[in-house]
Amino acid sequence: MKKALIFGIDGVPYSLLSPYIKNDVMPNLKKILGQGFTLHQMNASIPDISSVSWTSFNTGVNPGEHGIYGFTDLKPNSYSLYFPNSEDVKAPTFWEILGKTNQKTSTLSHLYHQKITHPYRSIILNVPHTYPALPMNGVLVSGFVAIDLKKATFPDSTYNYLHSIHYLIDVEAEKAKENKTAFMKSLWECFEIRKKAISHFFAEEPWDLFFACITETDRLHHFFFDASNDKKNPYHESFLQFYEELDKFIKYLYEQFIERYSEKGFFMILSDHGFSQVKKEVYINKFLEEKGLLVLKKEGYFYERVENKTKAFDLDPCRIYIHGKEVYPRGTVNKEEKSYLLEEIKKVLRGLKGEDGDEVIDQIYEKEEIYHGPHTHLAPDLVCLPKDGYDLKGSLGKEEVFSTNIFKGMHTWHDAFCILPENIRFHKKPSVENLTEHILQYYSQ
C-alpha cells in the first residue's frame, strides 16, 4: 500500500521558515523535522511565478517542455494577450502519470510509464495553474487563477460539496487596496474555508496521493511581508498567528497521516518561490522605451501598441522578447541583428542601477541556457532575475522606471524550500522540478 501526502505552501521562503522553526513559531514542524525529514533551500522555476513554478513541480519538467512561461503570453505571430491555463500545459502532471490517465507524454512520463504498475487515485486541491479542472483519476479543485467554481472542480460531486460549504476559490486581493485590516480578516476566512475543505477530502475520500496547497501565504506576503520580522509593525502579531495556525494544520494532517499509514507513507512539504521585501518596482518596458528599444502607439490593447520600430518588449515579470521579423506582424529584427541586439540589451540591463547606485539585475539568461525541450521556441529570448528588493514588472504605459506600490513583498527565485524524507539527498541545490521524480520513484518501488 503506497500513500503520499504533499503539502504546498505558496510563496513561503526558506529564510523565513527556518528561523520560525528555530524560534518556536512553528514548534510542530520542528518536531516533524526531528522524525526523519530534512529542510532544504530550493530554487523556484525561472521566472519565479506561481503558475510556472507549480507547473514545473506538477509535471517535473522545465518550461521548455511544459510550455508555461507566465500568467500571460502572446498568441503566436500576434500581439494578442492570452492567459495560459491547464489546457496549455504540454506535459502530463504527476497525478495523470500515477492515475494512468495522461494523454500527453514527457521525458518524465516515459521513464515511469512502465514502472507504475497500476493506477493510483489522487486528490489535488487548490494547486495553482490547474484551471479548468481536467478529468483525472480522483478529485481536483483548481487553484489560482480559477474563476468559475464549476469549471474548477472534477468530478461534479466535488462542486456540490464545495458549494454547500460556501467554498472560496481565492481571497479578493482587490480589497487590500481599500482596507488592509478588512483584507487581513478575509485572508483568515479564506484560510479557514481552505482548511475545512482540505480536511473534508482528506478524511472522507479514498486516495493514494493527497496534494493540497495553501495560497493565502502568498497573499499575506504580497501585502504584509514587512510585518514578518518587525515587531513594531501593526500586523506583526497577525502575521505570526498565521504561521502558528499553519503549523497546527500541518501537525493535524501529519498526525492523521501517520496514524493511518504509519511510517510507510511518503510525506513532503514545499513552496513554489520565496519572498523578500520590496524596495522598488522596476518597469522594464519603460526602461526599454527610454533606451529607444521599445516604441508604443498611444492607443491599443496591451501589446497591440507595439510599433514597428520596436526592437524588444517585456512580459511579466522580466521576460524579454525580441521583436523579430516573421515572428511578429510588425517585427523588423532579422537573425543577424538579433544576436547583436541580445548583447546590447544585456549590456543596458546590467547598467540599470537603483537610487544608491546598486545593481538591479542579478542574472540574465538567454533561453537556450535555461530551457530545453520541444517548446523552447515559445520561450522569451532573455529572462532576468533581479537582486532582492527590486520587483521587475512588465506593465506598459508607466511614467517612470522606478516606483513604489501597495505591495510589501516580492517573489524570489533562490529562496523557496522543501521538506523531504532525509534519505533523499541532492548533490547541488534542488530546483522545484527536481522533486517530482521522487514522488514517482516512491510509487514505482
Binding site: F71, T72, F83, F144, V145, I147, D148, L149, K150, K151, H163, H166, L168, I169, D170, E172, A173, E174, K175, A176, K177, E178, N179, A182, S186, E189, I193, R219, H222, E281, K298, E299, Y301, F302, D316, D391, K393, G394, S395, G397, N405, F407
Partner: protein
C-alpha cells in the same frame, strides 16, 4: 399556458416581490434588448406606470441610435430616468484609448453606478441579465446580495444567495435582482416579436452586418447577418452556433482573470 407567458409571469412575480421587499429600488437600463424587455415587464407589472426610477449608465461612448431610442422611450413611457455619468473621469479623458479597457469599464460603468446608488440611497437594483448569457452568470440567483465592503458573508446569507464573482463589483451595500434570469437569448427575441416591442435599430442588418449585442461603440463589433426583421433574427438565433457576446471586446472570464492578476501586481 404557453412558454413565453410562463416566463413572463415568473418575471412579473419577481419584479412585484422585489418592489414589495424594497421600496428604495431602481432598474438598470442599458437600452439593449434584454433590459428593454425587463423595462417592458416592469411596465406590465405595474399596469403601465413604473413606481421606481430607471437608471441609465452613460459612458459617453454609446451609439447615437441608443441615445435617441432612450430619450424617445423615456418620454413615451413617462419614465423617471436617472442618468449616471462619471463626469470627473470623463473630463480627465478616460476612454477606451486610455489605459486598458478594463479600467475604462471600471470607471465609466462600475463606478458611475456606484455613485448613482449612493446618491439615491438605493437598496436594490433590478437587472436584465440572463443565465445563458455567459458561463460566469450560470450560477447567478434571482436575488443576490452585495455588501459595502464588497464582502461576501458566507456564514450569514439566505439559502438561495450564492455568488462570489460579482462581489468584486464595488457598489455600496445593495441587492441585485435578476427577473430575466430564466430567459434565453432565443426567448427574448420571441418575446420581443410577440409583444411588438420597440428595439434599437442597430440589431437589424444594414449592409450585411448587424449587432447581436450592444454597448459602447468602441468595444462592440457587428456580426455578418442579413436579418432585417425580428422574424429573421429569431430564425438566425435558432440556427446559430456562435456565442452571443462573441462580438464583445473582452470575454468576461478574461476580465476576471485580469482583475485577479492585477490585484496581485501583475500586468
Amino acid at each position: 399556458m404557453d412558454h413565453l407567458t410562463r416566463l413572463e409571469n415568473k418575471s412579473i412575480y419577481i419584479i412585484r416581490e422585489a418592489y414589495y421587499q424594497f421600496k428604495d429600488i431602481a432598474m438598470l437600463w442599458s437600452v439593449g434588448k434584454d433590459s428593454t424587455t425587463l423595462l417592458w415587464l416592469c411596465r406590465k407589472a405595474f399596469l403601465g406606470k413604473i413606481p421606481f426610477p430607471i437608471i441609465h449608465i452613460d459612458t459617453g461612448y454609446k451609439f447615437p441610435e441608443m441615445y435617441q431610442f432612450r430619450d424617445a422611450r423615456a418620454k413615451e413611457w413617462k419614465l423617471n430616468l436617472l442618468i449616471g455619468r462619471n463626469e470627473e473621469k470623463l473630463k480627465e479623458g478616460m476612454g477606451p484609448g486610455q489605459g486598458s479597457k478594463l479600467d475604462c469599464c471600471n470607471e465609466l460603468k462600475t463606478n458611475a453606478l456606484k455613485m448613482v446608488i449612493k446618491q439615491y440611497h438605493l437598496k436594490a437594483i433590478l437587472l436584465g441579465i440572463r443565465r445563458d448569457e455567459h458561463g460566469i452568470r450560470a450560477k447567478e440567483r434571482y436575488f443576490s446580495p452585495r455588501d459595502s465592503q464588497f464582502k461576501w458573508d458566507y456564514e450569514n446569507q439566505p439559502a438561495e444567495l450564492w455568488d462570489q464573482y460579482q462581489s468584486t463589483v464595488e457598489e455600496e451595500e445593495h441587492f441585485r435582482i435578476h427577473p430575466l434570469l430564466h430567459f434565453t437569448e432565443f426567448d427574448i427575441w420571441n418575446y420581443v416579436k410577440r409583444e411588438g416591442l420597440p428595439i434599437v435599430p442597430l440589431y437589424f442588418s444594414k449592409n450585411g452586418k448587424r449587432f447581436r449585442s450592444i454597448g459602447c461603440m468602441t468595444c462592440c463589433s457587428p456580426i455578418d447577418s442579413d436579418a432585417k426583421t425580428i422574424e429573421e433574427i429569431v430564425e438566425e438565433i435558432r440556427i446559430s452556433k456562435t456565442s452571443e457576446r462573441s462580438g464583445r471586446a473582452q470575454d468576461k472570464e478574461n476580465i476576471y482573470t485580469m482583475q485577479k492578476l492585477r490585484a496581485l501586481g501583475y500586468m
